[in-house]
């Protein structure tokens, strides 16, 4: 990593030996004073526990000596369904997150490279890095609430779906006029046939007062017209009840309702929407037998929101929130790589007639490869150890579905789990997963040193 500015020069082969004059500590003495505290902390908090955990993973749930179980804890790890879910989910995390974070970071870094206000953008995208993954979990829990009135993500979904499939004017209503029947498509069809010059009355009930469209006025039965089919769709209910199937005073018309005229074969020949007084008019209807119907779209339910925190979507929801955190990291590291890129190479490529895309694809990306791989590998390690955000963002009822290895380890060993044997086995498993990846990273570091 040469971009940071704090990477060091190659190590000096041998530091000058301290003169072991009188009054000075010997070689070992000075070293011991300076290294002692560090070695004590590392020994007690890292080396001893690591050895203990490895040994402990071959022993039973409680106690220690005398509860030898061999590799049973590891068998449990690969046969218990919640633990398998954790491994499977972690595999999804590894497959999705590092690639996406690296790609998004690269796109952001390239986009901001020649924009003057890039610092503002970079700061905004980088901000989540300073926030705890825990607070991020809380933040996204607010975003993901299912009710589109409460959760911003679903509110956006509602706005978008409102454009493509708007909610009906009446999400709740039931037929009142006798003969008005619900069909499988959700439309209401009047069984009583009508002819040109006829009047159809489509009475509906079961509409809450606040669900009646605002523009509704007193319902009116239009006079019959020769050659036309006219009628009214109205709320067949007034304070006190009223007579079923008859338009009365104080009963309101239902505006905006889609009314269809269907021929004997059931095919819609005309379609119209009702006026504020509920009346409608199909003009110039040719001779024949027809049925009036209220279209299904009238009763279309409004968008209810996706259950982002429910069992089916919880993993993708977690991934999105996690990518939101780490995109800034990738952007900054890759941005530093871009800034350190030798300009003359890029210029040479352009001079030779390469297009912007060719330069990017054939020169920039290969030159950036070391940086991209740093980001990618770092993200694999982060993702393998992911814990906080799952703990904070997933509701407890969905922990089984959202499970990851670190979460499984915690709940197996602590919080009422109390199984130190399997808990140790999970920790060792995580250790084994991390070692090769991190070893790769360290080897690269050694090379850079």
């Amino acid at each position: 990593m040469t971009a940071g500015g704090i990477t060091a020069e190659p190590p000096v082969a041998a530091a000058p030996p301290p003169a072991a004059g009188p009054g000075r500590l010997g070689k070992y003495g000075t070293g011991a004073i300076f290294l002692g505290p560090a070695l004590f902390l590392l020994g007690v908090w890292m080396v001893y526990p690591a050895v203990y955990t490895i040994v402990r993973s071959f022993f039973g749930e409680h106690g220690f000596i005398g509860t030898w179980v061999g590799i049973d804890n590891y068998k449990t790890l690969f046969t218990t369904s919640t633990l398998l879910t954790a491994i499977k989910n972690n595999a999804i995390w590894v497959a999705v997150v590092p690639a996406l974070v690296t790609a998004i970071g690269l796109i952001f870094a390239v986009l901001t490279e020649r924009v003057r206000w890039a610092v503002a953008f970079k700061t905004v995208v980088f901000l989540p890095m300073a926030i705890s993954a825990f607070a991020t979990g809380v933040t996204w829990r607010i975003m993901y609430q299912q009710d589109p009135g409460l959760g911003a993500v679903n509110a956006l979904g509602k706005t978008i779906s409102g454009v493509f499939s708007p909610a009906g004017v009446l999400s709740q209503a039931s037929p009142s006029t006798p003969g008005l029947q619900t069909t499988s498509s959700g439309a209401l069809v009047l069984k009583t046939a009508t002819h040109p010059g006829g009047i159809v009355l489509l009475g509906l009930t079961g509409i809450a007062p606040d669900q009646v469209p605002k523009s509704a006025v007193q319902a009116v039965t239009p006079p019959p017209k020769p050659g036309d089919v006219v009628g009214t769709v109205w709320r067949d209910f007034k304070p006190g009840g009223g007579k079923v199937g008859v338009v009365e005073k104080q009963e309101l018309g239902l505006p905006g309702v889609t009314v269809e005229l269907r021929d004997a074969a059931g095919k819609t020949v005309q379609s119209t929407t009702s006026k504020p007084d509920g009346s409608f008019d199909f003009s110039k209807v040719s001779q024949g037998t027809y049925h009036a119907a209220i279209g299904a779209q009238t009763f279309a339910k409004p968008f209810g929101g996706y259950a982002w925190l429910g069992p089916n979507l919880i993993v993708p929801s977690l991934l999105i929130a996690y990518i939101w955190i780490w995109a800034g990291f990738a952007m900054v590291v890759i941005g530093a790589g871009l800034a350190a890129m030798p300009r003359d190479v890029l210029e040479a490529a352009r001079t030779d007639g390469a297009t912007e895309w060719q330069t990017f694809r054939r020169v920039t990306i290969p030159l950036l490869m070391p940086v991209l791989s740093v980001v990618f590998v770092t993200m694999i390690i982060n993702v393998l150890k992911v814990f906080d955000i799952v703990y904070a963002l997933a509701p407890q009822s969905e922990y089984a579905k959202a499970n990851v290895i670190a979460l499984a380890m915690y709940f197996t060993a602590f919080q009422g789990g109390g199984n130190f044997g399997v808990g140790s086995a999970i920790a060792v498993f995580l250790f084994i997963l991390v070692v090769p990846v991190l070893a790769l990273n360290i080897r690269r570091f050694r090379r850079d040193m």
Binding site: M1, G5, I6, A8, V12, A15, P18, Y28, T30, F34, L35, P37, A38, L39, L41, L42, W45, M46, T53, R56, F108, L111, E113, R114, V115, A118, A120, F121, K122, V125, F126, L127, P128, A130, I131, S132, F134, A135, V138, T139, W140, I142, A152, G328, G335, A339, F387, D388, A392, M409, Y410, A413, F414, G423, A427, L430, F431, L438, I442, F445
Partner: protein
Amino acid sequence: MAAAAPAVEIPDPQDRVAAKVLRFAARAPIHLMLIVLGGLWLVPTIGLFLTSILPASNLASKGWWQIFTKPSVATWSNYDALFHNHGLITALKTTAYIAVGNTLLVVIVGAMAGYAFAWLDFPGRDWVFIGVIGLLVVPLQMALIPMFRLYDTFGLFDTWYGIALFHAAFGLPFAIFLLRNFFVGLPKDILESARIDGAGEIKIFVRLILPLGLPAIASLAIFQFLWTWNDLLVALTFGQNTTPITVWIAGQLREFGTSIDIIAPASFISLVIPLCVFFAFQRYFVQGLLAGSVK
């Protein structure tokens, strides 16, 4: 961001206003895209803040964006109530003790060890150093169970210093690695002339190494501070009543819907300090990040 140098722009002598306008128009989609993306990235945090200044009763039926149509509903009463909440104040203090305490420890112990590995000569030095680097791979899950038992025995369980010591130990391999590499790059002559002048190793360390190593030490300190301020897992394992703010909020999560007037402002408080640290020391933070992609 400090790390990204501005792109080199080669001025074109024949640049006219029209050309400028044309170029701006051609680049407008990029600006637009960045504005939209930046907005997307900002919305969750803004949403958290706006949620935190709304009364719980208003949040039962409408989302935080109601504030845009009716700004008068905003109130500081949630924060007011929180600052009279004994639990939260204690949790904040505990967080500060843990974060500051372990950062100091890591910086001091790490710098001493870094100096030893960089400038002291003793047999087996490089092997010990490689061993320390090897510890970078140990995930902290490996230590939870044994240290849980050990803490219980030695009375470190449920204390802020128990949690701080754990963080310090797991921060050390990276700290030593970072500082050793920085110290190795310091000018050799200064150190040698100090030794010739008869300065002891401790004096050299305090008077020379620490001041000269300040940039790396600052990066490390900020990194470690943020890392531990934001920790959840370690405190969740080793704390019970003495817990930092993350664990305190986690205790309220079960009642997410009804306690939102506590959860949202408390979460926002928990991220104010890291944000301040981040903005104040952005340069060091990014440098630490670039050097520390290994963690």
